[in-house]
Each structure stands twice: as structure tokens, then as C-alpha cells.
């Protein structure tokens, strides 16, 4: 009997001694490679999700527990309900961190991005209900993040477009956002299938074109919208909401076409006037002079009390015109929000006020009291700018009938007040030569909606976007913060600096 010592005498062990470790090594080699294959798609799945370590930092225990247990969306939902309570109680500051957390927990909660950004853009105001503009970059940052995480839905893109249109008055940016929304890939899960976005976004896009003075494109967009509405009604003739939209499209298309004809192509509908801007060149009521109308802008800005501005003056245009007022730091620039975590940290030392004053019987006057909102208006920079301006692109239609969409029919006796905003993205409908326009001479023969500054399809020749920059009436004052803080100062022509 061999009495050798064996620690593990089981047959099975002897047999597996080699096989199992070999298999183990082979499989272990496979694992990292497989993981590497999985990673890109996993990243796509987890896009925008913040880990609980990050998202959990601001959570109370009861809320932290839920996402930890896997109920990310439920936690997000509960937080959202709490947000709603804060909306009702007016505790607006409390909402922001919650919005941040919810979108980290559930990066596909589209309505949270939308509502959160709306809240940022609209709900923070001074005591005269003027929005705190410092919140707009964070709002845009939040929307961009939402768009990044939800490329497959048009909702957040549309919201961005709408806020740029309605709040920021950046119609070009709005146009881009609406186009992005319209380019959304159609999804079978969406009500809009086989389209990527709802019909109404074509409407807002058309309006955005119109506000940029790019009427041919606006008209083309209305046509596209009508075409799509017809397609949709072809599939479902009882789709009453589309029927209503189609009716609006027809009305808007016809109205815009009418205005385009009236403002730029004909005078009094007689189709006889050969000049490019017949309406513009017609003498206005009470005047016999042909040519652009002289607004005779006479602004008067006074710091009546510390931090209180009185903006008044004369502007010889019809009632309904509004003079835009901006009071901002001399070096004001919207902050660049690049870090998601600092998204809601607004620059507290920034001062900006945006308001309008309406013109009645050629006069305007408004007091802007910035003394009651020290949190919003810190006046911590040495100099401020006070900008008074009138923009024909945002003015009401009856004034646009007189001045054109880009102010072609408006001027001022003080040439320093006439300001062309020549940023290329603001070029509107073509302007004739000799009128500060860069475009070719208007010949009136082009098909109207092919114009508007696009390279003709298939064309290879050197091409410059032609078009009309908006012509504004604009005055910029430079004022010492010290004077604002002390009060009792009237701004004079000496305080006027060139517009930029």
C-alpha cells in the first residue's frame, strides 16, 4: 500500500487541474474585449444619466434611497411633483437644484428641461416684472443639454426656438432651432409619424423667417406647411386640428404675400409703380416728401434718483411703436455656461435691464426704477451703457407697412442715430443698391420666394449672401456707475458713444 500523502485526493480535482484554469484564463481574456465592444452602445444608452454619486449629492435621504434602489424615474417624478409645489408657493429658487437633479436622474424627462428652462427665462423678475436676463444663458444651456440627450424628439428643440424667438428676440437662433426640430428623425412611436415634428413648428419657423425680414423664405415655409397639412388630411380627412392649422397657414401665407406685395412691390395695389419700395416712398400722412420717413428721434435720459432712470423723448412715428431700452454693463456679455454643474450659478455682479417704452402721439416716457432690486442690479462695473433703439423687424405690422420689414423706409435727421446691424445672420430681404444694401440691384423679376440669401441650387460660382441688414434707430449712452448710484444726472449728447 503506497502511503503517499495527498492533500486533495478527489479524482475530479486531478482531472480538472488543468482544464478549469485554462478555461478560466481564456474566458477572462474575453471579458475585457467584450466590455470594450459593449461600451459604445452602453454609452449611448446612458447618455446624459449622471451617476448617483453626482446626482445624489444634493438629494435628501428619502429621495436618495429611491434612485439607489433603481427607481431613477420614480425619484425624478417625485422631485418633479415637489417642484410643482414650489411653483405654486412661488419658491422659485428651490426649483432650480431640483430641475438639475431630475434631469441628471432621468435625462429623458423632456418636460423637465422644457419647464425648467421656461422657468429660468421667464420667472425671475425684478419688482416691475422685468425678467432677469442673466438666467437666459443657463436656460439655453439646459435646453442644449436636453436636446443632446434627446435628439430623437422635437419638443426641446422647439422650446429652445420658441424662447429665442419670444424672449431673446434672436430670430436667427430661433430659425436654427426650429429647423433642428423639423429635422428630427421620424419615429414610429411618435404621433407625428411619418414626420419628425409636429406641423406647428413649420408655423413658428415661418414667423422666425418673417421676423428676420426673409419674406420669400417665410412664404416658402408656409407653402411647405400647407403641403404637409394636405398630405396629413389625405391620410386622415377628419383630422380637425390639422384642418385648423391649414386654415391658419392659408391665412398667414396670403397675409404675408399680401404684405410683401404691398410693402415692396406695388403701391395701392395698382401694380404700376416701378420703384422697389413703393409704399416706403409714398409720402406719409401729413407730409409731402417722398423717400424714407424721418423719425426725428429725440431721446432724453435722466438719472432722477439713485438707480432710477427716466427715459423719455420724441419719436415721430405712429402709435404702437415701442422704443427698446437696455441698461447694461459696458462690457456686458452673456455668460458662457459650459459646465453642467455650474449651470445655475448666474454672475451676480452682472447688471442688465431690458425693457420697452411705447410711443403715444410721438412721445414716450417711462421711469425705470432699479433701486428696489439690488440682487438683480448690482452696478458693480464702473461704466454702464444705456441703449435706446427702435427695431422695425420687431415692430407691429402697421408700422412695418410704412417702414418695410428691415426699416428700408425709415431714417433719421441725425445720421448718428441710423444704425445698420450688418451681422450676416441678420441679412433679410435683398436691398437695392445705394441703400446700404450689399445685394444686387432689385429687378423685380425673380420669383419672390427664391430670394433671401441662399446659394442657388447647383450653382458653383462665387456667391455672397445678398440681403438687407435691419436699419435701426439707435442711441447708445455711456454712463458712470457712480453717477447712477448718486442720481441727479441728465445724460447729454456728450455721453453718447458710437453704436456697436
Amino acid at each position: 500500500m503506497a502511503a503517499t500523502t495527498k492533500i486533495y485526493t478527489q479524482d475530479s480535482i486531478r482531472r480538472r487541474k488543468m482544464l478549469l484554469p485554462l478555461m478560466l484564463v481564456l474566458l477572462l481574456i474575453v471579458v475585457p474585449f467584450l466590455q470594450k465592444t459593449i461600451d459604445p452602445t452602453a454609452e449611448e444608452y446612458h447618455k446624459g444619466e449622471k451617476s448617483l454619486v453626482t446626482a445624489g449629492m444634493g438629494l435628501n435621504n428619502e429621495f436618495l434611497l429611491l434612485p439607489m434602489l433603481g427607481f431613477r424615474e420614480a425619484a425624478a417624478g417625485l422631485l418633479w411633483v415637489r417642484c410643482d409645489e414650489f411653483f405654486h408657493s412661488g419658491d422659485y429658487d428651490a426649483i432650480l437644484p431640483l430641475v438639475r437633479l431630475i434631469t441628471w436622474l432621468d435625462p429623458h424627462a423632456d418636460n423637465v428641461y422644457v419647464t425648467g428652462a421656461w422657468h429660468l427665462s421667464y420667472n425671475f423678475t425684478d419688482s416691475s416684472e422685468r425678467s432677469d436676463r442673466r438666467y437666459i444663458p443657463p436656460a439655453m444651456r439646459l435646453l442644449d443639454e436636453g436636446i443632446q440627450n434627446n435628439m430623437n424628439i422635437p419638443d426641446i428643440k422647439f422650446e429652445k426656438g420658441w424662447q429665442l424667438y419670444d424672449k431673446v428676440k434672436d430670430f436667427n437662433g430661433a430659425e436654427d432651432a426650429f429647423k433642428l426640430a423639423l429635422a428630427t428623425k421620424p419615429s414610429k412611436n411618435s404621433d407625428d409619424y411619418p414626420y419628425g415634428a409636429p406641423l406647428r413648428i413649420w408655423h413658428t419657423l415661418a414667423h422666425a423667417y418673417e421676423k428676420q425680414g426673409r419674406i420669400p423664405e417665410a412664404l416658402a415655409t408656409w407653402q411647405k406647411a400647407m403641403q404637409r397639412a394636405h398630405e396629413m388630411l389625405g391620410r386622415n380627412p377628419k383630422d380637425y386640428s390639422t384642418k385648423q392649422l391649414l386654415a391658419a397657414e392659408k391665412h398667414n401665407y396670403e397675409l404675408t404675400l399680401q404684405r410683401y406685395q404691398d410693402r415692396y412691390q406695388t403701391s395701392g395695389h395698382d401694380h404700376t409703380n416701378p420703384t422697389p419700395y413703393p409704399a416706403v416712398l409714398m409720402p406719409a400722412a401729413g407730409s409731402k416728401t417722398l423717400g424714407p420717413w424721418d423719425g426725428s428721434f429725440e431721446p432724453h435720459v435722466e438719472i432722477t434718483r439713485p438707480k432710477v432712470f427716466k427715459v423719455s423723448g420724441r419719436f415721430a412715428v405712429a402709435d404702437g411703436a415701442r422704443v427698446d431700452v437696455r441698461i447694461e454693463d459696458e462690457d456686458y456679455k452673456p455668460i458662457d455656461v459650459s459646465n453642467a454643474r455650474d449651470a445655475f450659478n448666474i454672475p451676480l455682479d452682472q447688471t442688465i435691464l431690458v425693457d420697452t417704452v411705447s410711443v403715444r402721439k410721438t412721445r414716450f416716457e417711462r421711469e425705470m426704477d432699479m433701486s428696489r432690486d439690488a440682487k438683480m442690479y448690482s452696478f458693480s462695473k464702473p461704466y454702464l451703457k444705456v441703449i435706446l433703439s427702435y427695431n422695425p423687424r420687431t415692430t407691429s405690422p402697421h408700422l412695418q407697412d410704412r417702414f418695410g420689414w428691415s426699416g428700408e423706409g425709415l431714417t433719421d435727421r441725425n445720421p448718428n442715430y441710423v444704425y445698420y446691424d450688418k451681422r450676416p445672420e441678420l441679412l433679410g430681404t435683398k436691398l437695392i443698391e445705394g441703400q446700404q444694401g450689399d445685394g444686387p440691384k432689385w429687378d423685380g423679376k425673380d420669383e419672390t420666394w427664391r430670394q433671401g440669401g441662399r446659394r442657388p441650387e447647383g450653382s458653383t460660382e462665387e456667391w455672397k449672401p445678398g440681403g438687407q441688414p435691419p436699419r435701426l434707430i439707435k442711441v447708445t449712452y455711456r454712463v458712470k456707475a457712480e453717477d447712477v448710484l448718486n442720481g441727479g444726472k441728465v445724460l447729454t449728447d456728450k455721453d453718447i458713444v458710437p453704436n456697436d
Binding site: Y8, Q10, S12, I13, R16, L20, P21, M23, L24, L27, L28, V30, V31, P32, L34, Q35, K36, T37, I38, D39, P40, T41, A42, E43, E44, Y45, H46, K47, E49, S51, V53, L69, G70, F71, R72, E73, A74, G77, L78, W80, V81, D106, P107, H108, A109, D110, N111, N150, N152, I153, K185, S187, N189, S190
Partner: protein, 257 residues
């Protein structure tokens, strides 16, 4: 054959454990509660229903897997029943395999039960009685995630006590769920962070791979390689489970019972 007999016995034993039923009932209860919480997302109550359902399956599945698998081997040793089994012509690997299969079959039955309740709930609550196929995927990936967890728990149970095992398995499950963090660490500039991240990401069981709930409950999210991803994730679960089971067998072969 022997492993199957052991698995069969294990399932019968496990299904009689009260604590498992408690978790199952909690899970089903949470799923059934889904429609009540529709108010959390007024624009799309389906999102809450789906989220709650998938999370409930994951959560109940997680606890059922851990409490089931953690005891399978230690309780045999404690009650000495393992002596009556291993003194019969049963190889130790057959025993480990049988216990794993039994534990996993138990988990499967539970997840399947919750899955059926969840899909039925969804079917009832969805206009037009349409159940999105993504939900099957969600349940399936949870199921394979639990397979991996079961293998991990069985592996630890060959040398750790149930209490230690609970914390080890749960801890690794949590770390493994941070895969999006570890993934970003693999490209970190800090060498130590990169090293640790790479190690954790590629070597520890990557449970985060299976968490696609957030993306699939939002119908608008479309993933390009969704089907390939499913297959890869399942392959990952199977291969990594095999690794853990081989380790478990190698350790258990040397374990004195």
C-alpha cells in the same frame, strides 16, 4: 443529471423561503401600484408605469437573488445536509453547478412572475393594448444581470459567510453599476484614477451594462445597435458567470466542509 437533481431540490427548498416571497410580493405590489403614480409624470403616465415596473423587477430581483443564493451552500454546511450529498457519488462541481442552477431557476421564476404581472399591467394601461417590445428587452437584461449576480453570490458563498457575502455581493453590484463612471475614468488624465477605473471597468463584473431602463422607457430614444448590444450583454453575462462558477468550483474543490 446529478446537478439537475440538486438544482431541482434547491428550487423546491428556495421557493419555500418566506423572505423570498416577501420580496416577490413587494415587487408585484410596486408594479401594481404603477398606474397610481401616473401623476408623477402627467404628460406621459406610461413612463412612470414602465419605470416603476422595471425598477421593481430589478429591486425585488436583486434582493431575491442575493437572499436566495447567499444561503444555498452555507445552509447545507450548517445543517450538515451537504455531508449526505457529498458522501454520495456527487462531484463537487456538480454540487456547485446544481446549487447555482437551482438558485438561478428560482430567480428566473420570480423575475418571470413579476415580468408577467408587469406586462399585463402595461397591456391593460396602454391605449390600444400595445406592449412595447423594449419592455421584454428590459426584463431580459435584468434577468441576465441577475444571472451574473447569482454567479457572483455563489462564488462568494464558497468561502465567505452569508453576512460577509451579502456586503461583498451588494458592494460589487453597486460598484459594477457605476460603469458609466468607470468608463469615463478609463480616459482620465490622472494615472491612478485611470488605472483603478480601467481595472474596475474591465475586470469587475460590469453590472451597469444591463441598466438600459432609462432609455427604453422613453419610446422616443432610439439606439442604433440595440440588437447587437442585447446579444453582447447576454454573452457578457454568460461568459462572466462561467468565470465566476469556475472560480467557485476551484475554491470549493479545496474547501473543507
Amino acid at each position: 443529471m446529478v446537478a439537475l437533481a440538486i438544482a431541482n431540490q434547491t428550487v423546491r427548498e428556495a421557493l419555500r423561503r418566506r423572505v423570498m416571497w416577501i420580496f416577490l410580493i413587494i415587487g408585484v405590489f410596486l408594479i401594481a401600484l404603477g398606474p397610481v403614480f401616473g401623476f408623477l409624470n402627467p404628460r406621459d403616465s406610461q413612463v412612470v408605469l414602465k419605470s416603476l415596473g422595471l425598477a421593481a423587477i430589478l429591486l425585488a430581483g436583486l434582493f431575491i437573488t442575493i437572499v436566495t443564493c447567499i444561503y444555498l451552500i452555507p445552509i447545507e454546511i450548517e445543517r450538515r445536509t451537504i455531508y449526505t450529498v457529498l458522501s454520495k457519488p456527487v462531484q463537487r462541481y456538480e454540487f456547485v453547478l446544481g446549487k447555482f442552477l437551482g438558485g438561478f431557476a428560482t430567480v428566473f421564476v420570480n423575475i418571470a412572475a413579476m415580468g408577467v404581472v408587469f406586462l399585463a399591467m402595461l397591456w391593460l394601461q396602454t391605449p390600444g393594448h400595445h406592449v412595447p417590445p423594449d419592455m421584454f428587452k428590459g426584463i431580459m437584461l435584468t434577468f441576465f444581470q441577475m444571472l451574473l449576480l447569482a454567479a457572483l453570490t455563489i462564488f462568494f458563498s464558497t468561502f465567505a459567510t452569508p453576512v460577509v457575502n451579502f456586503f461583498l455581493s451588494f458592494g460589487i453590484f453597486l460598484v459594477g453599476n457605476l460603469s458609466s463612471v468607470t468608463d469615463s475614468l478609463t480616459t482620465s488624465r490622472n494615472a491612478i484614477a485611470r488605472g483603478v477605473g480601467t481595472l474596475v471597468h474591465y475586470l469587475l463584473p460590469n453590472f451597469g451594462n444591463f441598466n438600459i431602463q432609462n432609455s427604453i422607457i422613453h419610446p422616443q430614444i432610439e439606439i442604433a445597435n440595440a440588437n447587437a448590444f442585447m446579444m453582447q450583454s447576454i454573452a457578457y453575462a454568460l461568459i462572466y458567470s462561467a468565470v465566476l462558477l469556475i472560480l467557485a468550483i476551484l475554491i470549493f474543490d479545496r474547501r473543507e466542509v
